[in-house]
Assembly symmetry: C2
Homo-oligomer: 340 residues x 2
């Protein structure tokens, strides 16, 4: 592996000059610069990023911490699409991305911050982390710049990106109401997720605005899991035949509700309307296809990476980036056909 020393030797100059020539400094004549470049190509030189990182104290690397990067996440293409967005933006800005494994045995012994510090990443993106994850606090309090997706934290060198979950939920519920629904339940995710809180907020606000009485026991907990949602929905639907629509805080849970309805022979959407959240790939292919609040997952990742690198560059920027969401109307919703 050739180094700048080798180049210096054969080009007959000092290593300083090689370094400065290759890095485009002005204090080297065009003639020698060209010679050096030729020699470099000749010797198949590629710079050693490790050595460079060491001396410059900048690794040009950002870390990605995904809380639950496992096959479970495959149904839910959320993680993957965010990753794609991050990857693309990071590439554009000439950084590299290092994936931290957080589900291995290692995790118990090495904390996030230790991982980050050891690898000298310049910043880190956190995804899928629960609000009560002890490591979340740790990272925030460390001096490592970070941006987290879907948890609203800001601070010096810490920001977040999310979508407007209250607004998304409002759009969904209002749409149901506009279709004539009055008996609307909500299948929420676990309370530890910030998005659950916000979507519930939107649900409640919309009911109030429309003067529909709120029933606390109509807010179910599907834990963001399909099977759990199915089980809970099964029980709920059996005992509340008057419900005409269910707003779900995730598509996966909506699919669970669909299954429950099928089991009970409740036709969707004619007797029951179902709305999901996220617009995962499955939403489009399910039968009936899911009406859902779409989030631009790729954009979330793209913005997260951009924000982080802005933070690193100390660029003046808004530490909170909130994206719009929009309702995608498909087959799982319809006018309320039940007699009141």
């Amino acid at each position: 592996m050739t180094t700048i020393k080798d180049i210096a030797r054969v080009a007959g100059v000092s290593i300083t000059t090689v370094s400065r020539a290759l890095n485009g400094y002005s204090d080297v004549s065009e003639k020698t610069r060209r010679r050096i470049q030729e020699v470099a190509k000749e010797l198949k030189y590629s710079p050693n990023a490790v050595a460079r990182s060491l001396v410059m104290n900048r690794s040009k690397t950002i870390g990605l911490l995904v809380s639950e990067i496992s096959r479970e996440g495959a149904k839910d293409n959320f993680t993957f699409e965010v990753l794609c967005g991050i990857n693309d933006r990071v590439a554009e800005l000439d950084y590299d991305l290092i994936l931290f494994n957080t589900n291995s045995a290692q995790q118990k012994v090495k904390s996030y911050t230790q991982l980050c510090r050891e690898r000298r990443v310049e910043g880190v993106i956190l995804q899928g982390i629960k609000t009560d994850d002890p490591y979340l606090e740790e990272v925030i309090e460390s001096d490592i710049p970070c941006v987290v997706v879907d948890v609203p934290i800001t601070g010096n060198k810490v920001g977040y990106v999310s979508t407007d979950n209250v607004d998304g939920a409002k759009k969904a519920v209002q749409y149901l109401i506009d279709l004539g629904h009055q008996q609307i339940a909500m299948m929420n995710g676990h309370k530890k997720a910030f998005v659950s809180q916000k979507r519930k907020e939107g649900y409640l606000a919309t009911l109030e605005e429309n003067e529909i009485p709120i029933k606390e026991d109509w807010i179910l907990n599907g834990e963001f899991r399909e099977e759990q949602a199915e089980k809970v929905a099964l029980y709920f639907l059996r005992n509340h035949s008057n419900v005409t629509a269910i707003f779900c805080a995730s598509d996966l849970m909506a699919l669970g509700v669909l299954k429950a309805a099928k089991t009970l022979n409740i036709p969707v959407p004619s007797q029951l309307s179902v709305i999901g959240y996220d617009d995962i790939v499955l939403a489009e292919y399910a039968t009936p296809s899911l009406t859902t609040v779409a989030q631009d997952k790729y954009q979330i990742g793209y913005e997260a990476a951009g924000l982080l690198i802005d933070l690193l560059a100390e660029k003046e920027t808004n530490n909170a980036r909130i994206l719009k969401s929009n309702l995608k109307i498909r087959q799982s919703t319809d006018f309320n056909n039940k007699k009141a």
Copy 2:
């Protein structure tokens, strides 16, 4: 950021001793080792992996090159699941994973090998690369250890992992034949993919074994894309009403075929059986759900990472790891109901 120098200073020993104490060498007394460890904890020391890489010439990092890591890949959760497998195995073996962006403008100017060399990754995993990708050859011929998924290349420090595609195709086609089908078309992917060749091989072999005449124009090219497959299938089905089954080289293309059949009002599976390949998440949720040749995508990634690290360690191993695939029978296949 504290260094071993700091530790040495406050512990009153040399940096050599600190290094050797922290790394568990035997030539340091238990007493001083403990003191050093205490001081290290006290000062919140974390080792600088960059500096270590430089001197040891081992980065403990492997690179991942995914040819088409973009939202397109989201439907197809293949990429993601492989990634999960890689990530897990890499974590177990205490390596880190760095993602290389190959779809940016950068790519044109920096080759794969340059990227790898700059970052001093110890090895690299290539996924989704086409057999005619110029960079493929480049990486193989470089001295960088690598394993590629689904392209059969071996050599010194290069290996691959794949599933037995001939066998998988055979299982699928034989199953159709056992159901009474004789008029079986194949929707293949583009020829640049190794798996296309093998799946076709299995298709042809099975027909021959069962003495079913082969019709070359019954082998269609869906380019591994849903829309393309739909278009091609539409045309084919219109002109060949005698076909009773279609074996597809990917689930995505099978979904395209399903759509075409729907458009033409051909009921699946009663009038047309369809088999896919891969077992992506959508396969289970499509209507009708897809019978398919399932590949353990997670395992592919897991094996790839394991193989690469074995290669790095110069461990004696088989450079080709072929996994089994198995037929998952769902709703898109049925007995041949057409009159001959």
